[in-house]
Amino acid sequence: MPTTNQRDILITKRDGKKEVFSIEKIEHAITKAFLSVGSFVAPDTITNLLSRICIKKDMQVEEIQNQIEEALMAERYFKVAKAYMLYRQKHFEDRATRDKLTFLMNYCKANNAATGSKYDANANVENKNIATLIGELPKQNFISLNRRLLTDRLKKMYGKEVSEQYINRLNQHFLYKNDETSLANYCASITMYPWLISGTASIGGNSTVPTNLKSFCGGFINMVFMVSSMLSGACATPEFLMYMNYFIGKEYGNDYYTHTKDIVDLSKKKRTIDKMITDCFEQIVYSINQPTGARNFQAVFWNISYYDKYYFESLFENFMFPDGNKPDWSSLNWLQKRFMRWFNQERTRAVLTFPVETMAMLTENGEPKDKEYGDFTAQMYAEGHSFFTYLSDSPDSLSSCCRLRNEIQDNEFSYTLGAGGVSTGSKSVLTINLNRCIQYAKRTDQSYMTFLEEIVDLAHKAQLAYDENLKELQKSGMLPLFDTGYINMSRQYLTIGVNGLVEAAEALDIKINDNPAYLTFVQNVLGLIESYNKKYRTKETMFNCEMIPAENVGVKHAKWDLEEGYKVLRNCYNSYFYIVEDESLNIIDKFRLHGAKYIKHLTGGSALHMNLTEHLSKAQYKQLIKVAATEGCNYFTFNIPNTICNDCGTIDKRYLHECPVCKSTNVDYLTRVIGYMKRISNFSIPRQEEAQRRYYDKMR
């Protein structure tokens, strides 16, 4: 080993700092290892051991310690080698605990839960506390466990090389595995029929079947909590209002909506039918918005849908309740509108994040086919309500989650599973960092399409491996939601997510507006993914592609890419087809950039969040819904930040700089940066910056 110039050699410590290499430290370590097994080391032995060690510039401490281990074994001091290894392991464990402690201290000091969270910054948590901290700590273990499960499976299915390739691409941030901190499958839109015919017993609960409005409300809350605890993402109940309507009908007669002012309560309060119904809304909505112990103090992610007449007919035309009754449109029509108006009003009283609502409407000749619902939707936007609209020219797809669009496989009604069309979801999301892929290909002089193809192929293999693991879990009886039919395995997708699309195009000097070069780029990239989705599709396994909302991935990708010296123009990658801060694009341009030709290959959907500073009139919203229908922008919401006063608690649906009640300027905003409404100050710090920078179209 070099001794003459050893003083000049710098080695790398664990924290990345450089230190001058010291041979005395090695001698000391060896002496201690011998002492720990009760023997002394002779100077000759040390010389022999040292002669086996080779120190190079910038060598890591770990590597030097590995060499010491090997030298001890080569010189046949096995007992000493074992003691040395155990010593190293003990220190490794100490360091891990120390790191966790540091994280714990930092989390306690962070401004809010999202900034403090290391692994899942979208955490839908209002405040940080001991419960949220408990949820944070095991996240790293879940990541390791999930990776191991997946790489073992990949090795079995495709060999060691593919498995290693997957881990490399993950560590190099070409790929990002969403929700790796949970063991459960991702999100699902469920059919509630199994609950209706057997209560929650079949999924491990103790509530029997709902028989009246009261047991429906209580049981529904329990059921949603139970289902959500077995999912890592959202739980959509697209039949919620239809079922509720059925139970209201049982209670007050099917024509209840024609006499809602009738007093039906013998108590002193003398409640009307309308009051009884809105009390049910209140019970369900406030309960579900509560932080949940089983979900690290996050509320469950609950989504519901509204339908126009045509969607309703095509989804539920064959539906029959267990008693032989059919869902009734006239009363459901009333109930949908009543719920929406109530929820809009209630949101001025409390910050209510859930349910995320989607209005599904069929379009014909560039406008809603059901004029009444087209009108009502525009009216609700004009009344300041914030919800998503899903448009389709045929009822062959549905968006029942805050973002995921799903093709409806079949609309058949089954006496055990209910309506077929509503049961869908995504088992797992694996995201491709397009900006990294394209810039890396450029850097290494490869065709970006060829390189991307390699990544896309790998992503599909990893998703299939995930799918196999999920099937194993199901075989072991771990997935009662699937076994009992709440979720249908064959109607669930494996989702390939994309992030950094705009940034990738910018890296190729493509202008981000509606122009042929950008369109070709988008269609090529997303078309490639879709072709692989088709290639890997089997009878039981389907893929889709989604532009993920990237609540925290967008921030992570930007940070990682910047660290590796890639061109990064913003510290949170866009979740849209346009640059969120670009003032040169007007509202119609943005609808166009989320129109049919751009989203064509995004079979899993993407949501356009149309950010405005002020509310529009009903006539204007009506016109913009027409624009969306004409352009083929199928999923959108209007996002006007609501003002919440930090001093007196007033919530105002306008974007104001001063509280209209107490005149305080200590105000915060509620906005839908991601799928759901949240206070801006509860977003992680980079997300808050994005919300600040985001260009809200001024009405001038």
């Binding site: 809009n344 009344e383 119609i588 341009d589 204007q620 306008r654 009405m699």
Partner: protein, 159 residues
């Protein structure tokens, strides 16, 4: 001659319409506290039938109204262009935001649906202040003009 410095799709200027607003330069008015004094300069592209056709075709039926913001240097030309729009794009309403206090003499308003009059006066405020001197008129079915300025002062329906 009129020239267009920039354009945008706007919602506030004309109530209930989705408006393609052309910001015209060569403004002869010298309002104190003008929000875009650069529009006094000779900048932008000449507005003629070709430019209008291209712009309108770009947005098709997504817009419901086209509004000239300014153009006080050549009102007669504006009337002609408004006529051209009505002849060729019947679905569009046409508006004019003028900085004048009164309509120009012999001004042909047959092809306009909205006309805003009045210079910007800082002390009186813009259209959404009830103290404003500015007025927005809307043409009625019987071709008469109705002052609809008060629509700017109405609070949203949810308040």
């Amino acid at each position: 001659m009129i020239k267009c410095a920039s354009y945008d799709v706007v919602f506030r200027e004309i109530p209930n319409e989705v408006t393609l607003a052309l910001n015209l330069s060569l403004c002869p008015n010298r309002c104190l506290g003008c929000h875009s004094p650069n529009l006094r300069e000779d900048i932008g592209e000449i507005v003629d039938e070709t430019l209008l056709t291209n712009l309108i075709n770009q947005y098709g039926k997504a817009i419901t109204c086209l509004c000239f913001m300014g153009g006080d240097n050549d009102p007669l030309l504006l009337s002609q262009l408004a006529h051209f729009i009505k002849q060729n794009f019947a679905h569009l309403k046409v508006g004019w935001y003028s900085g004048r206090s009164k309509r120009p003499e012999r001004f042909e308003d047959a092809d306009f649906d909205y006309i805003k009059l009045g210079p910007y006066k800082k002390e009186l405020g813009p259209l959404d202040k009830s103290t404003t001197n500015q007025r927005l008129y809307e043409k009625q079915v019987d071709k008469s003009w109705k002052d609809i300025t008060s629509q700017f002062w109405v609070l949203p329906s949810f308040l």
